[in-house]
């Protein structure tokens, strides 16, 4: 059949990756799809609870809360930029530069986690916010806040460790371009999740 001849050469007819990407990268994409659903479920749960609560508090003052979290956002965004640079350097095979850019990404990532911890500490110690109570009423405010930002922070922390492993390997001449690219994918994904968390958790809780 004529169509057989055609399929025999088509991308989907076997003998290689039809997406023209390595399996590792494809695997990371699949993980991202799955992890995106995990976060989506949390954000939907948050929306569901918030919509059904008439007295949901909006306690974050523009200054300092929103300014502080905006700085956190900028730090995280910068880390994505340095990650792009890392992948770019690796594409030219410049391992020394790649390691430096990954280290820069790790510094920004760690800075984000530290700032975030400071914010948590402030909320817990000074504002008395916990998963079961807060000074503004609805106890679920604290629960959703800590639950969602906590899971995100865990992802950033794991990402920093992951990048550390990649940097060490690249330095010793071990990992390939694909490995760096795949770690970059994860990193940008975690950054992207924050771009949903930030408006939904922070900007929608600005004190009017």
């Amino acid at each position: 059949m004529a169509s057989d001849a055609k399929t025999a050469t088509s991308l989907w007819s076997g003998g290689g990756s039809p997406y023209a990407i390595g399996s590792k990268k494809f695997g990371m994409w699949l993980f991202i799809v799955s992890d995106m659903l995990t976060f989506t479920a949390l954000l939907v749960a948050y929306t569901y609870l918030r919509m059904s609560t008439a007295t949901w508090p909006t306690p974050f003052a523009f200054s300092p809360s929103i300014i502080f979290s905006t700085v956190m956002t900028l730090v995280l965004l910068s880390s994505s930029l340095t990650m792009v640079m890392a992948v770019h350097s690796m594409s030219h095979g410049d391992r020394g530069k790649t390691v430096k850019w990954i280290l820069a990404t790790m510094v920004f990532g760690s800075a984000f986690v530290i700032l975030h911890m400071m914010e948590w500490m402030h909320l817990i110690r000074d504002e008395k916010v916990t998963p079961f109570s807060n000074p503004w009423g609805e106890p679920l405010f604290g629960a959703t806040f800590f639950g969602i930002t906590g899971l995100h922070m865990t992802h950033v922390t794991i990402g920093v460790i992951y990048l550390g492993i990649i940097a060490a390997g690249v330095g010793r001449g071990k990992f390939t371009y694909e490995d760096v690219e795949v770690s970059g994918l994860y990193w940008h994904f975690v950054d992207l999740v924050w771009m949903f968390v930030f408006p939904l958790i922070y900007l929608m809780s600005v004190k009017m």
Partner: protein, 583 residues
């Protein structure tokens, strides 16, 4: 091509690397199989205890007391113990048997071979996913031994019961925490497995193995993996929130004004319905995760032993895809009486009926495959036919349950128990039996005993219908589900005879399974040596030795020239054309 070069490997030599922390998909597949085999017998043992209690609620059994000093004081089972047995039975069966053997067991062993690959795309991830599943099983079993024992809330772990601590009953303390932990681990393991299966199917097919030349088993494993990837991700979120409610004092699933043990709880703002939504968003796809591999397998086996191409291969593929998609939009049919807007009910009901269409397409195609065929009635074939029978029996009751008006009455009765045991429980198990008899020669290099196999089939087939058919009637009469003692209601006293019948049928069926175990282990040691292709089947696993060598194809570069079901092709003198035969 590059992806093939990345995992060239030589067989490991040490015992640990070869059999314990093996990276070989065939060993991992067997590990999953035996994990599920252990679990299915544990689960069956629990179910026999439950059935025994239904019929003889006051019986004093001394070893009950030795096993559960608190749960069975004086040897009499308390309702709490009954509920914990029920919870563990359901959980172990759904997660560690139905989700494990058909997909991770057979799938691991045969997906790479059927598409011509040397191994899965990520062998290390594969090993990790098995050992994570193993750990999850250990944690689940540990729930029996902690203070308070195993949890009571059923495999669905409905809030608010599951979100409260010990105050809600024995087993709702540490036991429930372990349950959630185990399920969270299981989610992680399934996720790793799903990524592996999808990447393998997409990337590792040999030249010529187009998607539309894959055996239907591969299609089923592939779509099941997609369902796992999406479903377990959401269950993980639900688990995280539930664990927070229990350990951090939050109230995601706990509304205000809840009174437990005459005390108003200090929680407010949450919603038990939220748990139901999150759980069933996973839960309905989960029932297809359990059954799809069985459907793929049954299609395969029917075609092989009918010596005919599967009727409507393309329709079968599209039906699997349609079921996979529709499976995500029908979860509300489990919540018709949970307080749902009637319009929403109608929407969910219509979607649920819609899923009957691809299910019916599959059934008609199975029948079409059998039509006018010269059937070879092997044990594998008998179990595949049993699968179709059970699937139809359970599917029909599903249509009843999918009507909100009827479900109002039937929900939480034995009718539902009958429905899902027929269609998910036993049908999937028949799929596994069929798979075992079909693939045993390839997995272990020997043949199973057909006579013993057939006796086992007929007795089991009669047994399961005897257990589960009366349940539909009980449900229609109004016998509630998840109840430990029916004597409290007068009208149900009259139903005791039916319960007694089902209990005896259950004990009978459980005993019959000994035949299977004997057959399995005896054949492993003493069965006749299996030829490469004992069933004269066409897919790739039958073109290599039984059992397959370490790298499956001995480094040969295959090309596939044929579809998977070329039996009795007009104009060909051979009765079947192997996929690797020259064009």
């Amino acid at each position: 091509m590059a992806s093939h070069a990345t995992h060239v490997h030589t067989p490991p030599s040490g015992f640990i690397r070869k059999y314990v922390f093996s990276l070989d998909h065939k060993v991992i597949g067997k590990q999953y199989y035996f994990l599920a085999l252990f679990s299915v017998f544990l689960g069956m043992f629990l179910s026999v205890l439950m059935r025994f209690h239904m019929t003889y609620p006051d019986a004093k059994v001394s070893w009950f007391e030795s096993l559960w000093p608190v749960g069975a004081p004086g040897g009499v089972m308390t309702p709490e113990l009954y509920l914990s047995l029920m919870t563990m039975h359901g959980t172990i069966m759904v997660f560690f048997v139905l989700t494990t053997a058909p997909q991770a067991g057979f799938g691991n062993f045969f997906l790479p071979i059927q598409i011509g690959a040397e191994d899965m795309a990520f062998p290390v991830l594969n090993m990790l996913s098995f050992w994570t599943t193993f750990l999850a099983l250990l944690v689940m079993c540990a729930a029996f031994f902690v203070e308070g024992g195993a949890p009571l809330g059923g495999w669905t772990a409905y809030a608010p019961l599951s979100a409260l601590g010990e105050s809600a009953g024995p087993g709702q303390g540490m036991g429930m925490n372990l349950w959630i932990l185990s399920i969270a681990l299981f989610c992680g393991a399934s996720l790793m497995g799903a990524i592996n299966f999808i990447a393998t199917t997409i990337d590792l097919r040999v030249p010529g193995m187009t998607l539309m030349r894959m055996p239907l088993t591969c299609w089923a494993w592939f779509v099941t993996a997609i369902l796992s990837l999406l479903g377990f991700a959401v269950l993980l979120s639900a688990g995280i929130l539930l664990l927070m409610d229990r350990t951090a004092g939050s109230s995601f699933f706990l509304p205000a004004g809840l009174v437990v043990n005459d005390q108003i709880l200090d929680h407010r703002g949450g919603s038990p319905l939220l748990w139901q939504h999150l759980f069933w968003f996973f839960g309905h796809p989960e029932v297809y995760i359990a059954i799809l591999p069985g459907m793929g397998l049954a299609s395969n086996v029917l075609s092989v032993f009918a010596r005919k191409p599967i009727f409507g291969y393309k329709a079968m593929v599209y039906a699997i895809l349609a079921i996979g998609f529709l499976g995500f939009v029908v979860w509300g049919h489990h919540m018709f009486i949970s307080g749902m807007n009637p319009y929403t009910s109608i929407a969910f009901s219509i979607m649920t009926m819609a899923i009957g269409v691809p299910s019916a397409i599959k059934t008609f195609n199975w029948v079409g495959t059998l039509w006018g065929a010269q059937i070879r009635l092997t044990t594998a074939m008998l179990f595949a036919l049993g699968f179709v029978s059970l699937f139809v029996s359970g599917g029909i009751s599903g249509i009843f349950l999918g009507q909100p008006g009827l479900d109002l009455y039937l929900h939480d009765t034995y009718f539902v128990v009958g429905h899902f045991h027929m269609i998910m429980g036993v049908a999937a198990i028949f799929g596994m039996f069929s798979g075992t008899f079909f693939w045993f020669p390839k997995m272990f290099g020997r043949m199973m005993n057909e006579t013993l196999g057939k006796i086992h089939f007929y007795l089991t087939f009669i047994g399961v219908y005897a257990i589960f058919t009366p349940m539909h009637v009980l449900g229609i009469v109004g016998n509630p589900r998840r109840y430990a003692d029916y004597k409290t209601f007068e009208f149900m006293g009259q139903l005791l005879n039916v319960h007694t019948f089902m209990t005896h049928a259950a004990i009978f069926t459980a005993v019959v399974q000994v035949l299977f175990v004997i057959n399995l282990f005896w054949s492993m040691k003493k069965g006749a040596k299996a030829p490469d292709n004992p069933w004269e089947a066409t897919s790739l696993e039958w073109s290599i030795p039984s059992p397959p060598p370490f790298d499956n194809f001995g480094g040969k570069h295959l090309t596939v020239q044929h579809g998977p079901y070329e039996y009795a092709v007009p104009g060909k003198e051979k009765d079947h054309v192997m996929q690797v035969d020259p064009a």
